[in-house]
Symmetry: C2
Subunit: 268 residues, 2 copies
């Protein structure tokens, strides 16, 4: 009666993964009554198209799903949950923490939380910045698509201080950033400021970056850097996890938006 049987099947499988958030091929096959062998075929394609991501036999929603529902929703979520995450960071680290996203070939600070101190780093919220200078922007650049990187490198890099990186320095640092998973910048935008950033990775993509910055006097030491990075990595992981539908095992704290639900009915 319907036609398009295989398409519908595929969508059901996709929905199943989106609902479960963290499931196996067999589980889905069983739930939907589809032969395992066929289910694998669908999963493969879903994976290739980025709708699901796989990790050690466990499948969860992929980035393509996020873009399906629009940047709007994703950004709302980041802004919403991000505030709580940033507050936690500030509580632990005691320096300004911000969340930056990439907008085309620019970076933008989406959320900011400041510590209760006289001397602190202050970011402008909602203003477009170059991707080339500062820890947060550079973290975004490191995971940006190749064409964006090229545009930034070719577009002429603005210089703010003597420490602002040049095109060569920048280019060579990107690969290293991807390897280490974090960036530190010393006085690239403002003299005397130290800034650390980590990306929030979701299915291989940097959805946004967390950035902590403060005066060199307080943030210059290696131990400070290590402690801060530890806090930030934890935060980034939580934030990334909150993008996956609901997921399962709670490692550390989990940031969700209400989702109190547990009553009965879920209205498909």
């Amino acid at each position: 009666m319907a036609g398009q049987a295989s398409f519908e099947r595929g969508l059901r499988i996709l929905s199943a993964v989106a609902d479960a958030g963290d499931t196996t091929v067999e589980a889905v096959a069983a739930k939907l009554g589809i032969p395992v062998s066929s289910t694998y075929r669908y999963f493969r394609q879903l994976r290739e198209l980025g709708f699901v991501q796989e990790d050690a036999g466990l499948y969860r929603p992929g980035r393509a799903l996020l873009s399906l529902s629009g940047r709007h929703l994703t950004q709302s979520h980041l802004a919403e949950v991000g505030t709580a995450v940033l507050k936690d960071i500030v509580d632990t680290v005691g320096e300004t923490a911000v969340m930056v996203i990439r907008v085309g070939t620019r970076a933008m600070c989406l959320r900011r939380v400041e510590p209760d101190k006289a001397i602190k780093y202050t970011f402008a919220v909602n203003e477009l910045l170059p991707l080339s200078a500062g820890a947060g922007p550079r973290a975004l650049l490191a995971w940006a698509p190749a064409d964006v990187v090229r545009q930034v490198l070719d577009g002429g890099l603005p210089r703010f201080t003597d420490n602002t990186p040049t095109a060569e320095q920048l280019q060579s640092s990107l690969a290293q950033i991807r390897t280490s998973g974090w960036v530190v910048s010393r006085g690239e935008l403002d003299p005397g400021a130290v800034s650390v950033a980590v990306p929030v990775m979701f299915d291989g993509e940097a959805v946004c970056a967390l950035n902590v910055a403060g005066p060199e006097s307080r943030c210059g030491s290696r131990t400070w850097l290590n402690n801060t990075l530890k806090t930030m990595n934890e935060a980034a992981e939580n934030l990334a996890a909150s993008l996956g539908t609901l997921a399962g095992q709670g490692t550390t704290r989990r940031y969700t938006t209400q989702e109190a639900g547990d009553d009965a009915a879920h209205s498909a």
Copy 2:
């Protein structure tokens, strides 16, 4: 090379609609190079499954897409954008405005904005309430799935005041609410309080409800009710529109989350 050709095709079509936000069958067919006749076949199925909604030849993302990306994201978005919407309402109406969502067989206040007045109605945020009493909850109930309605009716209705509706009153009011598109409650939860609510409809489903409440002394008149409803309906429409990816024609004010982007690259 891939196999599952039709599935991939369907997903591409779905993505196209999600991206465009407001498009026609022909446009998608042209863009993807798929025969119109086949494209219609996919659209029909997508519509039947709720992934797209159609209105006068224009197609836009449907509710199933929202549930694909998880209640999380949707709720984050509502909470995020909702605050601005509520503020506008409070500015215009001068009474407490809240946003309530349905959680299983309960209602919950997700966001609250209060006017700067000594006497005002105060809602508890993040607490579960019955769906049976009060304007907001009842608006949600009116559009809830049948099994939820049954559960609520059969579950024994708590009584708060003499005006708290009984099961019979409740049941008969639901159809009327669906027709009129709004609810008013007078002293159902608290004596002397008037409460008005409208649902935020997205593709035939009540995603949440907006609720304005205040003392009878200020909110008793028919003109007040009319003016308030006008404001609320506008707000509800804006909120619903913000759930569609980005959509096009701006009627009144449009609430979006940043989405500044315009530079080049959008990284698929």
